[in-house]
Amino acid sequence: MIAFLVRRVTWLVATLLVVYTVTFFLMRAVPGGPFSSERQPPPEIREAIARRYKLDLPLSQQYVTELTRLLRGDLGMSFRLADYSVGEVIAEGWQASASLGTVAMVLAILVGGAAGVVSAARPGGLIDGAVRTFTMVGISLPSFALAGVAVLLVVYEWRLLPAAGWGTLPQLILPAGCLGAVYAAEIARLVRSGVVEAMQSDWVRTARAKGASHRRIVLHHAVRGAVGPVVSFLGPAIAGILTGSVVVEKVFAIPGIGYHFIEAATTRDYTLAMGLVLLYTLLLGVAGILVDLVQAALDPRINLEK
């Protein structure tokens, strides 16, 4: 396992370096800069601003300076949120994104898991048909459309929940539901196919031959077949959900990392965008390693050394 970890972490560090380089040059190749504005100050002031943020240095020098700073663990000051360091932005945004993401993910696992099992228990039945239709819609429906419909009905029509904002429980329900729905659909599909496949397996036939009830077979034996694919899916999904959802956070005005991400890109906030890209890469990498560790822990057939 040590060899496995060393190998994966080395790869992760190499990936981070490549991502840093590509992001650095891509961002500076895009026209416009963090201080371009519709009202241009006189050129002398533009120069003073460039000097203050060291944007007047040659690109190669900027590349090295920024890399050295990052290696010290300092993500720098945000250009467009000038009162905050990138670290502070992430620390603040993280809390909202993590709250929203956790609730959405738990909803997705509970609803999606249950729907998948029920659906697979009687393949081809009425419930199965309904669940499969819903998962199809859920997977293909973009989240902004879902959020739009939810706002129209729940907020405008029924006046049940607040339209947007952050800080109270009612404000959490709608965005978590919208965000979770997409993942729930995906999990339902994975669970259903995993269980259906397991129902054809030898061990299920054995259980049936021993006289186990249908309920016991589905819930105790066949369900295990779905755990692998779901865990594989959850790794990257959790990394994604923790770094925030761009659409849902924007529609419901949630001060999470996804919102910062899109704003950092559109306003050319070089330091913030870099910090978030690296964070996402890191999370994705760590989630991948954790998934493999959990898979190995759950399934004795998996050997990490290979």
Binding site: V30, P31, G32, G33, F35, S36, S37, E38, R39, Q40, P41, P42, E44, I45, A48, I49, R51, R52, M77, R80, L81, A82, D83, Y84, E88, E92, G93, Q95, A98, S99, G101, T102, V103, V106, V151, V155, R159, P162, A163, A164, G165, W166, G167, T168, L169, L172, K250, V251, A253, P255, Y259, H260, E263, T266, R268, V294, A296, A297, L298, P300
Partner: protein, 638 residues
Amino acid sequence: MPARLRELVPWLLAVALLAAVGRAFWLPGEPPADFTFINGTEPKSLDPQLITGQPEGRIAAALFDRIVRWHPDTLEVMPALAERWEVSEDQKQYVFHLRDAVWSDGEPLDAPAIVAAWQRFLDPATAAEYSYQLWPVRGARAYGVGLVAAGEMIEVELDEQDPQRPFARGPLVRGQASWVGSIANDGSRQASDAAALFGGSDDEAVLVEVDGVLYASPEHPLVADGTATAARAALPDFATRVGISARDQRTLVVELAEPTPYFLHVCGFYPLAPVPIHVIEKHGSPNWTKSENIVCSGPYRLYSRRLRDRVRMVRNETSYRADEVSLEVVDALAIDSGATALAMFETAAVDWATNLPPFAAKLFIERDDPTLRLQSELSIGFYRLNTTRPPLNDPRVRQALSQALDRSTIVKAVYGPGQPPSLSFVPEGMETATGYAPVQTAAEDAEEARKLLAAAGYPGGEGFPKITITFNADEGHQMMAELIQAQWKSRLGIDVELASMEWGAFLDAQSRLDYWVARAGWTADYVDPNTFLDMFVTDGANNQTGFSSPDYDRLIAEASRTPAGDARDAVFAEAETILMEELPVLPLFMRVSKNLVAPWVTSFPENSLDIHPIEAIQVDAQRQSEARQARRLRGAAP
């Protein structure tokens, strides 16, 4: 892995999940504010000297007082930190008599505090974008650019730290610069007449000599070997060369280089608000803006700030204006999606929404909704024409493009009624505000437009190259460009393409003159025609059309030397006549501010700069709380 341990894994995962869920429901809820408004995009900073945008300005104006302020309805200059002032005969000297004001920590906000704050505003190390607003002051521009020359009085800021005030400027060495220049590696000296700032460690790095001592930036090789003394900056001597001084604790004296009629008005602009230097020296920038450090002077002070969520302000009891303030707690929400803002407004979650999506604005106007407040702004929507690119370098072509347009039909189709078209670059509202009557360009005349185009060598649009209208991605901009495209096609017979661009790329293309026709907008910084007309001087930072006219430049310079009055207005009118004949810009429409204000807001000041001081807003709390409970803006639940 032993089987026993393996059995534990699912349980461990479940416990982790439970802990995460428990953490997730720990939410930062706060009791609702007395007044909540949608402030648009997240403020760049709370430091009034470092900001330029409207969302930032709303907060800065509530937190930081200026020496004068603008009347909430008429925008006339009113006393604020200065109780009264005298202006000299030649309009070049202002003497402000200050009231006995304090910061929210009880420290005095007196004349020396204002001088120190304005010095920071001008300091090139602050890199304040709006600092040129103070450039009319004698010596301010040279200080702001950091121009030092041999023979002049300069101040050298030594690279030393005071542990008590770790972020203060270093000790100053003041004296006459005996030499300014650079020293090469071989020791040869290269004098320069005037140099801006020093920095870097290469041959070109600038050094200064005062009283036989050489000063250079801390990284300079000559500092390491002891030849030169480390200094952070060398600037013109502020005390003797910049016209900002404290005559005594309560008297601030400002001397201008030229009579600048709008200077007094600019003093009420938020970037000129004094900042608490004593706090900045203690905590540094930007740390002084954190809610635990910040010290305010306005009718409000900062209570808390959550990034991209809200800025919460509470009444500042130490302000001399505290009694005039009716709202105790105010939340400014950082929400830039118009649709979200509308949903929050309609469900009574906010009392005022500043950013209305265009489709909704049209709908509200059509149904004559009283919650929508329309107010014409000192703001113009226009197209820039790139006068460096043929055929747009021919004034006849630009006139033809202008006269072929039926502005009222276009503007009404895009924005609905209530957004008047404009034939002048200075919006009409300037006349009521200052008495200056804007000069109009020739009105719509398709026949004349065709003649002009033919005279330029393109009869019936024949041989006219394909030009492009560039705009930043937006439904309204797109629609307007399509209508203009259609009119130019049908009336002039020319083909025009449309290009929608992302904001940053769009601004970049405009400043590099990499466009044919580009959409633009401009809002007055202060109430004076100069804020619109000085844009188009040769190589002006906001000219961006390549337009250059020596006559125009001369007139704008003349206006800056002329005291306010009819003579100055006549000079501006002459300049605008040139602009409206040469047409580097096509004025299209006067912008109208659109604010959604809830029915229970009983006092909401409005003016032509779309500024609504929070301290002057009042609400009927009873009706507000009923509406909040029902989540309904109007009427009871069905």
